[in-house]
Amino acid sequence: MIRLNNIHKSYEMGSNSLHVLKGIDLNIEQGDFVSIMGSSGSGKSTLLNILGMLDNYDKGTYHLSGNLIANMSEKKAAKYRNDMVGFVFQSFNLISFKNAMENVALPLYYKGVPRKKRNLIAMEYLEKLGLKEWANHMPSEMSGGQKQRVAIARALISQPKIILADEPTGALDTATSYEVMEILKDINAAGITVIIVTHEHDIAAMTRQIIRLKDGRIHEIIRNGELKQFQKNYMKELETA
């Protein structure tokens, strides 16, 4: 469903430009559970932004569900994002003056769903994530794990095909991180493609495909047998730790 062909991306900063992505070829199928790893500055977030249509690429082609994603107007990009993608961010990015339910319901507001109906749907999703009692709480009154679950509910409410998560567990402790990963696994089990960026090997080990970036290129893709080995290594590490 995602087809990247020789994607290049540079950031212009005054007179010099920084070549971040130097030809990415990548296929991700519907229902995949992918993690992107790589050292800091290797271009993980940049790649995720392009996948989420939050940023443009300079060269190459990007097809999403058979549609070429290029030179779109802001309006069209907004519509695509709203229909296709759900985002989960490291810093949760909840709107501080809206309570949990209103935050979750927001994507439906932009879809034009009436207030009563969208709040009802938001409550359903909060319940699924075990946050029913927190519906009327403001983000500032919630723990990191709770906030991230609200953010996931918000990403799910518009029933996207893909969930994109940039270091979703980066701000959480290990136990909470694992809870969040369990939720993402369930989402994936329901057929939604999940792509996460992470630094943590144990988190990556819970996905079913690991893409390693290095110097703006795909260094290796770990799946199947190699993945088993990877998982064994890092799970073991966890046990001994």
């Binding site: 802001e74 907004a78 519509k79 994002r81 709203n82 985002f87 501080s96 003056f97 207030r115 518009s158």
Partner: protein
């Protein structure tokens, strides 16, 4: 635009930022408040002065005589000019003259009725004087044409004279002795804007026959029909020429015949008020613009503060137009509501001042005592000011809204 959800969104953000919203609104409210106070005061002043003008007909003109100061056709200076009945007739014939009356003053005429008596000024005149001086008849009627033709011995008493001679009994139809000649009282009059009503009026023909034995007049009072300053000046010149020809003096000789043209004064004064009004509007609009710039600046800060939030909204599917709408509507709402509060307070204050002025003036307001009258703002002006506010809000929100629309959704992903 009128979708409830949008308003709820905006109300929610305003509620969360009460102080900021208050400060934003305050500058606008203050601007409108000052504009209303200024406009109200301007109107009050203009109304007051206009009312003072109304004490006589606005288009009144008085002509009196003097001595020549410019030699003319071999005649020496210092020659006195004297008006007679014909002068009233020839002035009446000048194009543009409305009504006219000759006048002859008899100072210290003795009026008596039974045991009461007193000395008062008698103004002998034609019926038209009533229209020139806007005389008010409390009772009865003013002198009419038949009184003049038949030299009737009738008199109109000023209210103070009536009070002195008759106290509370009826005067109408009674006979008073004027320098020992009995005259029938036909009316009681007051002069607008005056607290002293100590003049009596009698037909000029009667007075000339009984008291003077001549057809002399002291001065002429008339009205003229002119729309503009130029027209009014042309009529004035015409009259001067006619009189100069008759009495053989230089038309440029201002001391031979004196002339007061009230319309000229009125038009000039109204022009000044027009200028004051324009000045007030300029100041008012200036204050308002300061308010708009203030709102615009604060909205820019708001947009900057909300950069991340707007990025998040865009990442989850907000279109640029919905973001523009959000900022624009918030700006319009703050400006309109705050402006409206300023409007209501400003006009309210002026209405209150007006109310107390009317109260303290008592049942018979005395326009001469105040140059400030009815200092309120026209309803139409208030309505157009409100519309102006909505436009102002849109202008104030325009740049911030554009700034907001250009925010890239990737800012949502960036950590501060």
């Amino acid at each position: 635009m009128f979708d409830i959800d949008k308003w709820q969104e905006i109300l929610a953000t305003i509620k969360k930022n009460k102080m900021r919203t208050f400060l934003t609104g305050f500058s606008v409210a203050w601007g409108i408040f000052m504009l209303m106070i200024l406009l109200g005061s301007g109107n009050g002043l203009s109304n007051g002065v206009a009312a003072n003008f109304m004490n006589d007909a606005v288009n009144a003109m008085w002509i009196w005589t003097g001595e020549t100061k410019i030699p003319y056709q071999g005649m020496k200076t210092g020659r006195p000019i004297q008006f007679h009945n014909e002068d009233q007739e020839i002035v009446q014939k000048v194009a543009g003259v409305g009504v006219s009356s000759g006048r002859y003053f008899m100072g210290n005429t003795r009026y008596s009725y039974n045991k009461e008596s007193g000395d008062y000024t008698t103004i002998t005149c034609h019926p038209e004087l009533k229209d020139v001086e806007n005389l008010i008849l409390e009772e009865g009627r003013f002198i009419n044409k038949i009184d003049i033709l038949q030299n009737r011995k009738v008199v109109v008493l000023g209210a103070d004279i009536k009070k002195a001679l008759f106290k509370d009994s009826t005067a109408l139809g009674e006979y008073v002795n004027v320098n020992n000649v009995p005259f029938k009282v036909i009316g009681i009059s007051t002069e607008p804007g005056s607290t002293r009503n100590r003049n009596a009026y009698m037909p000029v023909s009667t007075a000339q026959m009984i008291f003077m034995g001549s057809n002399r007049l002291h001065n002429l009072a008339l009205t003229i029909d002119a729309k503009t300053l130029d027209e009014s000046r042309a009529i004035e010149e015409q009259i001067r020429n006619v009189l100069a020809k008759k009495h053989k003096f230089d038309p440029a000789d201002e001391s031979a015949v004196g002339l007061y043209n009230k319309l000229e004064n009125y038009i000039q004064t109204m022009k000044i008020f027009q200028a004051i009004k324009i000045f007030i509007w300029i100041i008012g609009i200036g204050t308002l613009i300061a308010g708009i710039v203030g709102v615009s600046n604060i909205m820019l800060i708001v947009v900057k503060e909300r950069t991340k939030e707007i990025g998040i909204r865009k990442a989850i599917g907000a279109s640029p137009s919905s973001v523009i709408g959000l900022i624009l509507l918030e700006s319009i709402m703050i400006t309109t509501i705050a402006g409206y509060i300023g409007l209501v307070l400003g006009t309210g204050l002026m209405e209150m001042i007006n109310y107390f002025m009317v109260q303290s003036a008592g049942p018979t307001p005395d326009p001469q005592g105040t140059i400030f009258m009815n200092p309120t703002v026209d309803f139409n002006i208030a309505v157009s000011a409100t519309l102006l506010l909505i436009v102002a809000g849109a202008i104030a929100g325009y740049i911030p809204a554009k700034r907001a629309a250009s925010i890239k959704p990737i800012v949502a992903l960036r950590d501060e």
